[in-house]
Symmetry: C2
DNA sequence: GATAGTAGTGTAAAAAAAACACTATGTCAA
DNA sequence: TTGACATAGTGTTTTTTTTACACTACTATC
């Protein structure tokens, strides 16, 4: 097939016709103290969609990878540094952006909101956490991106132990269960949940207990990342 | 956060610094008569990687969506028209292409090879099917893309009835089982497989049987797409 | 008529998941 | 100090799902 198409497919430097721009956008999930799932949004102070809320994100520079761009935008716009970050989907509809053709590679991030809540509020005066079932209307097609991210988070949580990314380093089984219930949108049986999660051998039971709670203090646990890596290698099933 | 970063994130038309180019690449899966999983590759006739095999693909035009670009490239380079096509992952490493910064949105496609085998061989003299476990060395990072596609196909097949896309309209349960065994890389129990797949109510048993086989002719079945859509709505579980 | 190759069928055992309720401990307020 | 409240923590039984397993039937070919 010695035709123009093959040629077009890998045209060298001289490629000069108009091309789409690439951005990254991040859906940052957090969990507040009332076990509500939150998303971090930025208020736009430029047209278009000035004043509306949008996902943190921005253009990909020529000398940085997609993931690097996502991490940079997160740092710049929200102060968030190290997080669980995973590619979600690439959105390429023609009219996503009213100004020009923009393709965006969406990522989703899980952060320990209990740690970052303050930073986001101070460093970025126009960044705020919103409960997922009470989101404002969003700029561009960001509502679609958020919906996609939510579905992915639910699907992922069922089969991979990623919930720990949303909790503090040390947490109780009760917190973990509430997390699953919130994200999956269904109640879980306490005893069955504890059996399942403990049988995975991913939790280290600490000799520490909750402080300053107005009820019996629960034991604290820690996620065993090393063990997780090893079990993942062996194709272990982490379904909840 | 009224700083340069927010501004940068949604800079208007005047955005003039160098930007990455975007391509699409397609991993096209097919299943041959010996129940071997195949991938369709194109032989490059331009530098770089001249003479090497690569995935069909090419630049995304400013006035077409990502999926349209993937379908166009497939049509142009291989003659394939209508297929199951789903976005796989977006690859954005800096040195993917030795000439310039190129980000590629990879798709994977499932086709009925029994129908297309001839077209690909005639329309595109430099297109050919390769068995997945005997692939030649590939141009760019296309081997990584293929590996990602393989994993995705396996994961997807376990939870969604997409195998039918690889078979002719009418097929036997034996063919279907072989498909699963090939893709998943494990043997399945005949009786258990039939029970499970028939209990999903996704198959229409036809009053037709195999022709021209040198053994007892098996009943032919058809995939019930309508039923599939309805069950999917209800959150039905299609795990095999 | 023997052989080769696939078609087609059910049951029992094992494993996994689901259902289910009470006692224990600590804080707070009356 | 006592009672109310909130969560901690713990096993067993039932149900469902999954797995293991073997023979007869049909058709073409040699």
């Amino acid at each position: 097939m010695n035709n123009e198409h093959s040629t077009l497919s890998f045209m060298p430097y001289t490629y000069e016709f108009p091309r789409p721009s690439i951005t990254v956008d991040c859906v940052v999930f957090g969990l507040d103290r009332e076990h509500k799932l939150k998303i971090l949004l930025i208020q736009r102070n430029l047209e278009p969609f000035k004043g509306e809320w949008a996902l943190p994100g921005g253009f990909v520079r020529i000398d940085e990878t997609l993931e690097a761009a996502a991490l940079r935008e997160l740092r710049e716009e929200t102060g968030i540094e190290t997080v669980f970050l995973e590619q979600l989907y690439t959105f390429g509809k023609l009219d996503r952006d009213p100004r020009e053709r923009v393709i965006t590679v969406a990522y989703y991030a899980l952060v320990n909101l209990w740690e970052y809540q303050i930073r986001a509020a101070t460093d970025a005066s126009d960044a705020a956490w919103f409960t997922v079932d009470a989101l404002p209307s969003l700029a561009f097609d960001h509502d679609r991106i958020v919906q996609t991210a939510l579905k992915r988070l639910q699907g992922k949580l069922r089969y991979e132990p990623i919930g720990f990314e949303l909790l503090p380093e040390k947490f109780t089984l009760f917190q973990l269960q509430k997390l699953y219930e919130t994200v999956l949108g269904q109640e879980l049986d306490k005893r069955n949940f504890r059996k399942k999660i403990l049988n995975m051998n991913l939790l280290i039971a600490l000799d520490e207990f909750q402080q300053d709670v107005s009820h019996r203090a629960a034991r604290l646990y820690q996620f065993d990342r090393l063990q997780y890596e090893q079990l993942k290698e062996k194709g272990f099933n982490f379904e909840i």
